[in-house]
Amino acid sequence: MRLRRIGAITLAALMAAGTLAGCSGKTATTETTNAQTTAAAETTAAASDTKAASGEKTVINIWSKDRHDASYVQEKVDQYNKTNTDNIQVNYQLYTDNYVQAIDMAVQSGELPDIMVQQDQMFDKYVNEGQWANLYDFMDEDMKTYFKDVIFPGYNELDEKLYFIPTTGTTCRLFYNKEIFERAGIAEPPKTLEEMVADSKLITSKLSGEGIYGFAENMKSASSGLQRSLMVGLQRETGLVNGYDFVKGEYDFTPWAESLKLWKELLSEDSAFPGCESLDIDPLRTQFAAGKIGMYMSYSHAEPGVYQNQFPMDSDKWDCVPIPTVGGKTNGKQYFSGTGGYVINAKSPNLEKAFKVYKDIFTNEDYLVGYYEGGYGVSILPSVIAKAKPSADFQNKKWLLISDIDALLPKPPHSAFASGMVVEGEDMYKTCESIYYGDADPDAALKDLTDRYNKAYQDAIKNNTGYEIKIPGYDPQNPKLQ
């Protein structure tokens, strides 16, 4: 009896230990890893040499959110793994969905990779936490000179620290199918939003019997669809950056009404591709490549690669132009964003090796030239542009390149301190959605949106979760970063 009791207690103890081990296993591992990493960080190059001498490879992890260039980068990484003499093994991983959440979780669990593709939201969130390495600490003078044209104070250089180097750029354009335009008897792509609505309706009326429609956008997620379309046109049309007036230091969404009324027509049954409401960008692209969609708006850096590699389409059949605005008005520039940038985890135990990998793979001129020539991005580096022979797309389609209608724009409050500014009710994208689906009156909804954003902004200042953003003398035609 006694023996059975002892046995039972021992068994229970073992089960509890097992459970605890299960629960704490991660912590234990993390602690061990941290201990190892701290030690590793503190050791000198000699220690690394010892590690190398023992034959154990240093693993450098890279995370990316970009699917369009994944095959190219993977090829370069494989090549590097084969040829590098530093005993480094690079692991390249894709996190195309929920990239920011993956980064958040990795930061919390202390498992952030060594190198990551830069993305605005994750960059802003952790830059003040000291999570990103200052690249100036590792760059030699040659490298600094080589990249001097893509160093933008207030963007990638903050407080004299350089956090990432954009090597390509992207902006948004209207992509159209030339063949469909010809068949519908449209001589040239639209310059105004009114023309765009008329062209879309014409295409749909003439060709919908063949399953061809005038316009589509990936509206399953309002923010994803509008960030690459309506919002960009509105920047040029109104001179405001996503509704924010940098001179007055306040939001005003009311000038959006005219555009939204036209968007309602654009998305109506007699114009739009059926099922836009539940469309993601890739299904949209497959239909565009299949010649079923007349026009849509998207990013200039991604589409050439997509139609070359992902969903092949004859390059002669498509082109792109600036996003049309109401009456062709241009009161400001539209945003262009630096792409191809990578941040390095400042807390990486292999910081120096991580920078070496970054430098050897991603800042290598062969890589940059190949990237541009392969159609994965539009280079913004003068030396690369001079040397590269980009694909026919980039030679023949001038609006794929960053031009004088594009500029780096300052961040409005809801981007500059996104978590600190809590807007009650639906955000600007969902509000637009309710307008163009006819569920809300444009003027009333935009007035309400203006009030809610201004209140959230003022509350953020009052609660010290945000700060006042005003740029005296801000000129939307010649925008300056703060």
């Binding site: 089960m15 969902k430 959605e433 689906y437």
Partner: protein, 311 residues
């Protein structure tokens, strides 16, 4: 003296017995605390804070502001309404259908076993895959359903099954397809528990097939029906994967259900989603949603007592 010794022995015995009991309970208790109790307490705490998650600064105490915001939030209450539409739509179709299938497939006929397995398959299929399959079937531009309807001349223009007017119906259909096999199995188990004698005596008394079902089988299924209904209602309140994959709650929140509404404040849905996490408000939404689900469950339990009485 003798009494004291006896009491001490009793205490010792009780302690030993308790030690053994608690040793067995400990692993579960730890797991329950870590996986259930802690998240609930965490959620309740953040109801009173404004917090954007790790790396966004310290949480700010805001009192009952988040709860007050829930009651002002029109979109949330619309999502509650959608949840009820979805839940009742699903339950109203799935329960009779599952019962009908169970009744049909419970008979000793060739092929019934295989059909039962096929009907049960969607239950073990991932909801995300199921959503994707239904997207391929129902998308407006090249979905199989539209293709068939167009070819057979029933419609002349593609129907937007995932658009504002039909998205909720499509979601309910997906949920019914995904869950009917499961409830069918419960019903089969219930039917098999019914004594053959009761059915036979009803037949001897002259009851027809329908009368036997209505007056004998259905009342005798009371207890299992109560559980099935309970499961159907609670799962309908928590279904988000289907909605996420098929519509993400759109178009313009037409299929937004309350659990997904809360979820998107913790995990903004798509990669390009501009909404930043609002843990405090998400917690408040979750707590109110849990309270609503609780109230519905209590009402149901009261109503369902009648089913017990019938039995």
């Amino acid at each position: 003296m003798k009494e004291t010794i006896s009491r001490n022995l009793r205490i010792k015995k009780t302690l030993k017995h308790n030690l053994q009991t608690y040793s067995f309970l400990l692993p579960n208790l730890i797991l329950f605390t870590a996986c259930s109790l802690y998240p609930v307490v965490w959620t309740l705490k953040y109801v009173f804070y404004q917090y954007g998650g790790y790396g966004t600064g310290k949480p700010i105490f805001v009192g009952i502001a988040n709860l007050a915001r829930v009651f002002r939030d029109k979109v949330y209450w619309e999502s509650v309404l959608h949840t009820f539409t979805y839940g009742f739509g699903k339950v109203l179709i799935i329960i009779p259908l599952a019962f009908f299938l169970a009744f049909l497939l419970n008979q000793q006929k060739r092929g019934n076993g295989v059909t039962q397995s096929i009907m049960f398959l969607p239950t073990i299929m991932s909801s995300a895959v199921m959503g994707l399959v239904f997207y391929l079937l129902f998308n407006a531009y090249n979905g199989e359903v539209n293709k068939y309807l167009l070819e057979s001349g029933i419609i002349s223009r593609p129907v937007n099954w995932l658009g504002k007017d039909h998205a909720m119906k499509t979601l309910i259909l997906t949920a019914v397809w995904g869950g009917v096999g499961n409830y069918m199995v419960y019903f089969i188990a219930g039917i098999q528990q019914i004594s053959e004698d009761a059915i036979e005596s009803a037949r001897i008394d002259g009851a027809g097939k329908l009368q036997t079902i209505w007056y004998i089988i259905v009342p005798m299924l009371g207890p299992i029906l109560k559980i099935i209904m309970m499961l159907a209602i609670t799962s309908a309140f928590n279904d988000i994967t289907n909605v996420m994959v098929l519509t993400e709650g759109g178009p313009n929140n037409a299929t937004m259900v309350m659990s997904l509404y809360g979820y998107r404040y913790f995990f903004p849905i798509s990669a390009a989603e501009a909404t930043v996490p609002q843990y405090g408000y998400g917690a408040a939404v979750s707590v109110v949603s849990a309270a609503i689900a609780g109230v519905v469950t209590v009402i149901y339990l009261k109503v369902s007592k009648k089913l017990d009485d019938i039995y």
